[in-house]
């Protein structure tokens, strides 16, 4: 399998603070990759670097053979990286289906003119968008809530909707920032199945940050452990989780 994401020597400083230092990772196509570490280790900063929220001080990020270092967030999304957020960021005043349709924005186009004058193009493309959005909502069992306001969804479903919206942008790589945060064990189990389903059915490569060790050991094939912005351990899940260094720094005896 070819490498989809290659990160070399990635680093960023905020003033005197070295938030991420010499971060390297290679993720193959179709892999489920985990990024773990104690609070403040720099996991979310890595996500923000990958998605262009922060500009890296040094290092190279290559997605599918294309150098995307230093690009803007929009361009990186167009290149094929979509993400979810640690603290859910939905479009709360939009309906569930409109959240997903917003994700389809760059793939289904008609002009402003057609929209305002309600020309045939508007109806044709809106219908195709609705169809595609419903398809995605079905995957996440949200089809019955399509007309609800996103803000009115229960917590677990909001997390799912965020993943659905990210998938709507048709990415090559999906970044999930603590998808199981705040979920009960049942919801987490369900989420694990959904993540696996997404990987298999959408041919997706997934990089996720997670604290729930059951989820991490359950679905991730490889792991990187961050500590104080540096890589502590990297490799197959089983090996990494048994690494004595990882156990002292993060998992505890």
């Amino acid at each position: 399998m070819a490498a989809l994401l290659e990160v070399k020597n990635l680093g960023i400083s905020f003033g005197g603070l070295r938030a991420v230092d010499d971060f390297e990772v290679t993720i193959k196509k179709g892999q489920l990759y985990g990024l773990i570490g104690p609070n403040g280790a720099g996991k979310t900063t890595v996500f923000n670097l990958l998605t262009g929220v922060y500009k890296p001080s040094e290092g190279i990020i290559t997605l599918d053979g294309v150098n995307i270092t230093g690009l803007k967030t929009i361009e990186i999304n167009k290149a094929g990286i979509a993400r979810t957020f640690q603290n859910i960021r939905l479009f709360k005043e939009l309906s569930v289906i409109d959240n997903v349709k917003a994700g389809l924005h760059n793939h289904y186009k008609y002009s402003t003119f057609e929209g305002i004058l309600r020309l045939p193009g508007f109806f044709k493309i809106e219908e195709a968008m609705t169809e595609k959005a419903m398809e995605l909502l079905k995957v996440f069992e949200l089809e019955n809530e399509a007309d609800y306001l996103a803000a009115n969804l229960p917590y677990g479903k909001q997390r799912k909707l965020e993943i659905a919206r990210a998938l709507a942008t048709d990415p090559k790589l999906l970044l999930l920032d603590e998808p199981a945060a705040g979920m009960n064990p049942n919801e987490t189990m369900e989420l694990m199945n959904t993540i696996r389903f997404v990987r298999d059915n959408f041919d997706m490569t997934i990089l996720l940050i997670e604290h729930d060790m059951k989820l991490v050991s359950g679905i991730c094939e490889e792991l990187t452990v961050l500590n104080f912005g540096r890589i502590l351990a990297q490799g197959a899940t089983g090996t990494v989780l048994n690494d004595p260094q990882v156990i002292t720094a993060y998992l505890g005896e």
Partner: protein, 355 residues
Amino acid sequence: MKGLKLNKNVKDNLITYGIVIIAYVIMQIMINTGHISSLLQGLLVPLCVYVILAVSLNLTVGILGELSLGHAGFMCVGAFAGAFFSRYMEDVIEVSLLRFVIAIIIGAISAGIVGFLIGMPVLRLRGDYLAIVTLAFGEIIKNIINVLYVGKDSSGIHFSMKDSMSLGLTEDGDVIINGAQGITGTPKDATFTIGIVLIIITLVVVLNLIHSRDGRAIMSIRDNLIAAESIGINITKYKLMAFSISAALAGMAGVLYSHNLSSLMATPKNFGYNMSIMILVFVVLGGIGNIRGSIISAVILTLLPELLRGLSNYRMLIYSVILIVMMLFNWSPKLINLRKKYSLRRLFKKTGEVR
């Protein structure tokens, strides 16, 4: 499922159009049967102006989610651009309707361009900062127009920022924009019917924009800027789009306003800070993001001071008390329930059945 949703929007929009048209028909009947005071009749065109302004500002405040306090400035641009055109072309284009339509288009486009130019630097700011800067730009526009002198003679158009003498017009010359004295002798082309048509056009543009791909992008920026960026929505483009369309519609209202007066001056009263705030009050009271609410509150709040004229000394007191009461209770849960029970929509349905 999806058909249902589209229908719900369509239905909602149709009710809004319906309210406007029914109001128009009722007013027309009252005018024709003479059941209307001359005072109220004089208010009809300004009412249309305020409704358009409120709806267009709601696009910026409610849909884009940015507080703009310079809306009167865009209205001012439209008013002067439109009035200038009408005065300039008064002898060339004889048909008043055609001339007025072109004036409206010119007013809307020039206000839209000014909105675009101001929006480019200003929309980088957020919240209070944006409000303050738009306020400043509104005042700047007004003040520039106050020192602007434009005249025409056989050799063409002359500009000056000093006084009307320095225009250097020949004897047959005509000063069209005369600095602080503004434009006089604008043809009175504005009618209630044209006002209503413009309201409908505004509603079509705003409502159709909201319920389209672009509207979704604009609202996603309002709800969560970072998330909108992460799914590849071009923030700058859509912010500018909403802001310029809103400015263009305000310009259209300005043209209507200027063609209802024989002399047009840019005073603090009509194009200043007070005007911007008044439009904002319409939007806030009607419900931010609620287009139909903007229409209703603009109408009520314009009529109220006039209807209370008989109480002379107390009218501003009553006006402000009503404002405060509405702000306190408009969104209280109990009243919302009550409104749902006796909603306008239901009442309208019933009257519709009777007919």
